[in-house]
Subunit: 382 residues, 4 copies
């Protein structure tokens, strides 16, 4: 029985933030080992990254195609690849590895166009490959508790949703004098690397994904505005989303909201209760039952452990877990799924509790619909 | 020189919440005395209310028309009337007193239709009468500090606004079994007494008014959705508002948002700073300058007193002021204005710092435009 | 049946903070009218204050003895006097009015010495007079709810208490260069006007009183340290208090705790639950039952109204009440008590829910014991 | 040049919380590899733990003495051992490894008696070995920022300190019916395994260590009370500590404070500013300068990065780090120190920023002095 996996990474050199988070998250449970990589277009930086992680030079590639090709031929080939490059490369890299029958974990957004997204989904399904999308925030324990509470009827029938994901790191690009420099230094600001959206594609999609994750709702139509403030792409967007259930959500995302850093806050209101969760205080879930006071549920407490999801937390109550563990929780499930498939074991619903290529397809569609609505100035049907 | 005013009240019997708040707020500064009233359609309750406030039986009226008529003929007539009835009576009562040359303070929303609103504005202007609308939240010291900070450039050029005013007191009316009873017991739920809107008319208008108060922005167009959940009128509404400055605001109001009680929260983001204020913690203003940490400015502190408005607070730092004082601040300015007019003194900008009939007109227009947009499903131009 | 009282005030000129709070608080319920006063040693300021409150010149006194004497002889004499002077005058003024059979409301601390305190208590009891001490914080609705919850066993057997009352307004007197000026301008810093303690006498006594109010515990012994930082009197004090129940409390008071304004925070822990209340957010009570999550109980909510005390609040849920209303709640009970006594009606426990001269005696004893312990460096028995 | 270390662990089987945290924290930076262990007195559990971490059976020991002996003879011997056993074994295990010239990382408290503590310190110094004590909370970035701010004079001269570390996990042992069972199941409750103190030894020592870490102050004397509520050891303790600087601190620790989970909160007040840090929200530091509003400094922000320590954080602003990373920060410095010593490189102050055996000695002394004071009922000099 296989107990540990091998994995490779594309992108994620030493200077990149998110690649390092992926590696530490995978490492957290020590069930997968980094053995191959194509870390950077900058060859020197690629080699340095490989060295820092003891990746054998023979498995340090300059080209992701070569990596897919060569890895697929090895007996001890990688079980999955993590793709941590800028957006514009996701499609071609993911496709290449899928076509070499290697499981994929990819950063969001999945790719640029809906056609590409659907194509990737199709290939992954045909070849029965695991294809996970790292919608980070679905990995937090208290998000999972919230999902279970909603499923178990603790808030009754949902009637209204409010979600926001706001940051301020691009506020300097509001100044026309800084805009050219921002576009050069921040790839998310440049359509070539980022696609049709900056803010919605980077963080708005997390917010929408979180609504779907918690409620299971599918979008029926939406209306959006985008603010570019003189840049090529959106830095701020307001939306009203109507779901198939008839419920409406307000969604706001921004990269110019001073005083907010990684402010993903979701509130779901039902006729029997309400829940609120804030990413900056991830161990706390606020729950208000219809006939009672607001309760501060804390991860690791007996109250949280009344729920199955509450029992999957890693540290005792009051000992903050943080983002790395949210990521580790996603990889826990991805790795368990791949291991069980290798070992011919049956998969449970809990194993499959990670966002997959279909969620990635939804994300790409959402970005396109929102940008389309903002351009047309009308509601856009799904 | 006149130092104290006489006032009358229409509505606001002993069982009504808001009439009592008005009386206590006026009483706070002891510069106006209640001497006349038409407190209730229920004669017994009206008399009881008059007795509780030592209003002379000869000036306790069964009919507001009689009150306007008789008071206007007295030498010691009332200097202003406070109208605290349900919405559907505002127009006729206000008009009656204006036509008898008596200053008016009226609860929001001003009236049912835009035509009525404009007519009241016209009469008040022609007769040079004071006509205040009690948009309560403009009375809080830290709201005034925020306004002054924005005027003085502390947040730079405004780029995005988010405002919500959410409550949960009508959550039981989500249940179809309760809806008939709610409509009978809550006049705001009944179009006859409330007009075309419940939630937007009751609290959404406060939220919009607060944006205008803080920024001076005028609405250019808006798109809204309303949720009635089976009731005749809206209980929840989401909007995106575009202002003449090009800035967009998300506005959300709700009476079914469990866990929220009187949750008016406004956030205004600029390119040099941001401010956030929450009505449930009214003595605190959060200010984030572009190059610094978020600051918790507290009413009464030296930091707040750097601003003129910060010096108008009533209690020392750390001693909570509360809603009654916000109301008292509104009446302070209204009474000063009426006194100065009586005494022939010049009015300052600070004296006139209360919402007037023109803001009332704006409020009625806002309600109508929002409801129209929700019906049409499109942006509605102003 | 008498429905309204007449009252007088000693101290509390227009420039004083606390006198104005007393007047507004009394005025809040319009059941007592200010008709006499000896407002200031500064004659001109005294007259101005009288004029501002429409107190008849014939009842505006230069001397409190004259006031007690003359008022006691009138048919329409004052029903009670409010004493709002600096500490050093409390004893003599209170005694004078008691000896003229006039009810007294006095600011804390009651007086300088335990002998004086006991003497005042004795006179009040012998003459069957109401003698209230304005321990402000016992007037807040959620403090009363907490008291009722404790009485009803919601936190079980109390095991530990932590209370602090910290401010920062005297931080500048840490600098030796400022100390002389502080002593001259702040009467609380000067033993002549303040007695043997500044910080403990001003705010520490509130903290201790609040423990007693909530729990009913009597002090058995205490150990204290005081910090004067070069001033004549304490600016900071730490204590451990042992109560007759065996329970210990940590008490900290300070006037040099930067970032704290009027920070009275009490936490009472039992074996079945815990409560926490913070004066700067007075409408909220945090309650943690032994088997559940922390609940945020808000004044005016259905949850709060499960308790009798919760039904005495003045404004709806979410509409902040503030300090003036806490004071008004104290006067509500004092005035009801005096009215009922005048009318020969029976008094309930709820009517008598205000701190009286016996609590004042306790307060003076506490100040003396704490200062004694700090001097001796040992536990001091009660 | 050596780039990676080998380490072993004593204690920390799969069922233990803290051993796992140590392993994940070491693993976070992948600069030390677990190669040996004596994980459990339960042989089967020991083997399972070894297997889970790929520790070679030949280096999985039943006896820590055998481990020290055999490891010390290998060429590829462990560079350090992490001791994660209950308190009563710390002394003997640490001594054994030191005498075999192996660096030690040990959980707090260091050992039972002051004599043992001093002996361990002496051996470590004589043999020039690294001996780290995992006072976890010194590892948090914002604690390090606070320390640096204090060193750089941002709060001026310190005048008062308040620290508490409160939990509620032993509240059930307040019930006499549960006390026997608690003593059997919770080793910290049993003097045999825990020493002379439960609560002070477990968490009070963290609180005191944090004061020392932030301020550099040494204790001059202290007075303490302890509450056992019928158990053999303390569950709650209040103290006043006087430092060599003349500054006093209130310290409160508890395991029966309902509603508190891992509530380590420290506030340090100076004449120019104040700082507050709460372990449950570790990424935030509240700073109040004497002339300004309270600032919410967040880890990863530009404001935090004005300080050297602020630049050592691992994740971007708004992405919560959590306890594992605090632990990883401690190990980062320990491992760097051992690596540099092996490589003959010079050590910086930053490298040595971890608590060492001398802090462990201080911790043991603190526990003894506090218990002594509580017994005697007097101040105890240091």
């Amino acid at each position: 029985m296989v107990k540990q996996l091998r994995y490779g990474m594309v992108g994620g050199d030493l200077k990149a933030f998110i690649g390092e988070v992926h590696r530490k998250a995978i490492n957290f449970d020590t069930r997968a080992k980094l053995v191959a990589g194509c870390f950077s277009a900058d060859e020197k930086l690629g080699v340095e990254t490989a060295e820092a992680y003891n990746v054998d030079p023979s498995r340090t590639y300059k080209d992701y195609k070569e990596m897919a090709e060569k890895e697929s031929q090895r007996e001890d080939k990688i079980d999955f690849v993590s793709i941590c490059t800028p957006n514009f490369l996701h499609y071609q890299i993911a496709k290449e590895f899928l076509l070499h029958d290697i499981n994929v974990v990819c950063e969001k957004p999945l790719c640029f166009t809906q056609e590409e997204a659907v194509e990737l989904e199709k290939i992954a399904k045909e070849r029965n490959l695991v294809f996970a999308i790292t919608y980070t925030y679905t990995g937090y324990t208290m998000v999972k508790v919230a999902k279970e509470m909603i499923e178990k009827g603790k808030i009754g029938k949902i009637v209204s949703i409010n979600v926001e994901y706001v940051q301020d790191w691009l506020v300097s690009s509001l100044d026309p004098k800084n805009q050219k420099a921002t576009t050069l230094s921040v790839w998310r600001s440049d359509p070539k690397y980022s696609g049709i959206s900056n803010c919605i594609g980077d963080i708005g999609t997390h917010a929408e994904n979180l609504v779907h994750y918690l409620t299971g709702f599918e979008i029926k139509r939406l209306i959006a505005t985008t603010d570019t403030y003189g840049m090529a792409l959106d830095l701020n967007s307001n939306m009203i989303i109507e779901y198939d259930s008839g419920v409406r959500a307000a969604l706001w995302c921004s990269q110019v909201a001073l005083g907010h850093y990684n402010g993903l806050v979701i509130r779901v209101f039902g006729d029997k209760g309400a829940i609120e969760w804030n990413q900056e205080y991830p161990d706390y879930l606020h729950y208000t039952p219809v006939d009672g006071a607001t309760q501060v549920m804390i991860r690791g407490s007996a109250v949280s452990k009344q729920y199955d999801a509450g029992n999957l937390s890693r540290l005792p109550v009051g000992h903050p877990e943080g983002l790395t563990i949210a990521f580790a929780n996603i990889y826990r499930n991805v790795i368990t799924t791949i291991l069980k498939k290798k070992n011919g074991e049956a998969l449970t619903k809990a194993d499959l509790d990670f966002q997959n290529v279909s969620n990635g397809v939804d994300g790409v569609k959402f970005i396109h619909k929102a940008v389309e609505s903002a351009k047309k100035g009308t509601w856009v049907e799904y």
